[in-house]
Amino acid sequence: MSLSDSLVKPSPLPGFGPALGAALLWLGLLVLVPLAALVWRASGLGLGGIIAIATQPRIAAALRLSFGLAFLAAVLNVVLGGIVAWVLTRYEFPGRRLLDAAVDLPFALPTAVAGIALTAIYAPNGWIGAPLAALGVKIAFTPIGIFIALVFIGLPFMVRSVEPVLAEFDPEIEEASATLGASRLKTVLQVVLPPLAPAFITGFALALARGVGEYGSVVFISGNIPFFSEIAPLLIVVKLEEFDEAGATAVATIMLTISFAMLLLINLVQGWTRKRMGHV
């Protein structure tokens, strides 16, 4: 028995070899090689050196801010994105197509444009910022501003992950729940939402990952005040501008490691949920 016989389950689909080869080649060229170069550069510092950089107060604060806000924004997007997906799939109303297209705008817009627009609106002299400033609430140039930018760019990931699954959801399942005496709320909570969990987790992971690495839309609205509203990706740019290439690669490696660990964890949860929800 050859190696390929013992490791690979026989499949009736031909072309396993070339397909896997092409997939690995692209993945290698586009993802693994650059990331390996990054890790290799950072390895010059040694594990101790990286930890020392990570625990520098300014860097630690930036990392906490980036991951913390990306997490919170993704959580809020679970709710917002879920509602938008629900509205888009469940109701027919004039302008639905328009709303549907608008959801993708954060994908399409150059992030800097989004950042400047958000800043203009939420700045203390902006349309929304001015009335809020009168109430003593400051949004632009604070972590709240960053949070809003991250919600903005994460929303389409959520909507586009949940929408197709929700659209496929068999209305008879909801009708069955109603005939069994369940109220509308119980039907939604116990029958509709649980099977959507894998889609929500996918959207959450995508929004979180995007939020962690987001730069363009955040730098304008954040104000970039160290220890307060400075995000980790910005810190990498700052390090590079100071010709501190080792510091930049160290921060990048730390972000890479945390992100990878998070995505791996989410994927594991995903696999477990899918099994529980009957996608065998």
Partner: protein
């Protein structure tokens, strides 16, 4: 619980789905709604469940007016063709669902729910499957879980929408007999929808045949098959021969043969229907004359195609296997049972077996 439907109408947009349906269903009865697709049978069932709102007419379960009663309040057990099981729940959780979602005041205890689930699993012969997920069951097993889930809430009536439509022929046959047994044991008033005449005739106490949003006939399976009330039912259920005839002078004739007397004053073209097994080769005076055109083997029988003198189109009838007949032979055809319709209304029925005309 008995069901009374009066003048039920339903319009989707501009196209009427039901116009003026009246139907009384006795308590404990198993009734089949049979019709081609688009006849309104599923709409009728969904209105009973409260899943659709009627445009007009009323429905009573016993003395209880269903108008304004929500789906939840109606306490109907509904079984869908697609099973509509909750696939993220185990078989046991699916069955228990209707009991668990009750408000705390009326919810049975966890132990009572567990024993009810156990009992229902036994009834649908799925004991030992309580921990499985729907994705791990066959189609027939899923439909049995769906039935157990519907029965768990002690429904007033049980409604089944093409319950076996998605299953293999053999599984269907088994489930039909099995569902009939369950019905006899539990005694729920049951209404099921089907487009399969065998299913309707085999399972039902009575069959309601629907066509284009109206009920054509409600009767026992025997009466539906042997004594169809309309030309549509002759064509839709079983095999039937249709012969165009003329009514003249109070008589219905094929060629020179007088088949029946019809009331005076009825003149003009009419349709005569009879089933292949309700006719025989006979040279007697009441027989119509014709020519054998073709012979075919048809299951256990032999079927002959005969061209009757004075009638357009060929008819089919069952012939004795051993009869020495060949195409081209002249013969007489005696009709033992037939019905004559003029303008879609029945003007005469003849049944020689019971000598009623």
């Amino acid at each position: 619980m008995d069901i009374h439907i009066r003048g039920l109408r339903k319009t989707f947009g501009v196209s009427p789905a039901l116009h003026g349906v009246d139907l009384d269903i006795a308590s404990g009865e198993l009734i089949g709604l049979l019709g081609p697709s688009g006849s309104g049978k599923t709409t009728l069932l969904r209105i009973l469940a409260g899943l659709e709102t009627p445009t007009g007419g009323d429905i009573h379960f016993g003395d209880l007016d269903m108008a304004g009663q929500s789906i939840q309040e109606r306490r109907v057990g509904f079984v869908f063709q697609s099973y509509a099981l909750f696939r993220h729940m185990t078989v046991a959780d699916n069955i228990a669902y209707g009991l668990r979602v009750r408000p705390r005041a009326t919810r049975p205890s966890a132990r009572a729910i567990a024993s009810r689930v156990e009992e229902l699993l036994g009834l649908v012969q799925l004991t030992g499957y309580e921990g499985r997920y729907p994705g791990q069951l066959s189609g027939g097993q899923r439909q049995r879980v769906a039935l157990a889930r519907a029965l768990a809430v002690e429904p007033r009536v049980l409604l089944l929408d093409e319950p076996f439509g998605a299953l293999d022929a053999q599984v269907r046959k088994d489930l039909r007999r099995w569902l009939r047994e369950i019905h006899d044991r539990t005694g729920h008033t049951t209404v099921f929808v089907t487009h399969d005449q065998d299913e309707a005739l085999e399972m039902s106490d009575r069959v309601a045949v629907l066509n284009r949003g109206a009920i054509e006939q409600v009767a026992t399976p025997d009466a539906i098959y042997d004594d169809p009330a309309t030309p549509f039912i002759y064509g839709f259920i079983g095999d039937a021969n249709r012969v165009e005839i003329n009514l003249r002078g109070g008589q219905a004739r094929i060629g020179d043969t007088v088949l029946a007397r019809v009331g005076a004053g009825k003149e003009g073209p009419a349709e005569l229907f009879f089933r292949p097994e309700h006719a025989a080769i006979d040279d007697g005076p009441r027989s119509a004359r014709g020519t054998l055109v073709a012979l075919r083997r048809f299951g256990a029988k032999r079927r002959g195609e005969i061209r009757l003198d004075g009638a357009a189109g060929d008819i089919e009838l069952d012939l004795p296997i051993g009869a020495a007949l060949k195409p081209g032979d002249r013969l007489g055809v005696r009709l033992d049972r037939f019905a004559i319709f003029a303008d879609g209304r029945r003007v005469s029925v003849l049944d020689l077996a019971t000598r009623a005309a």
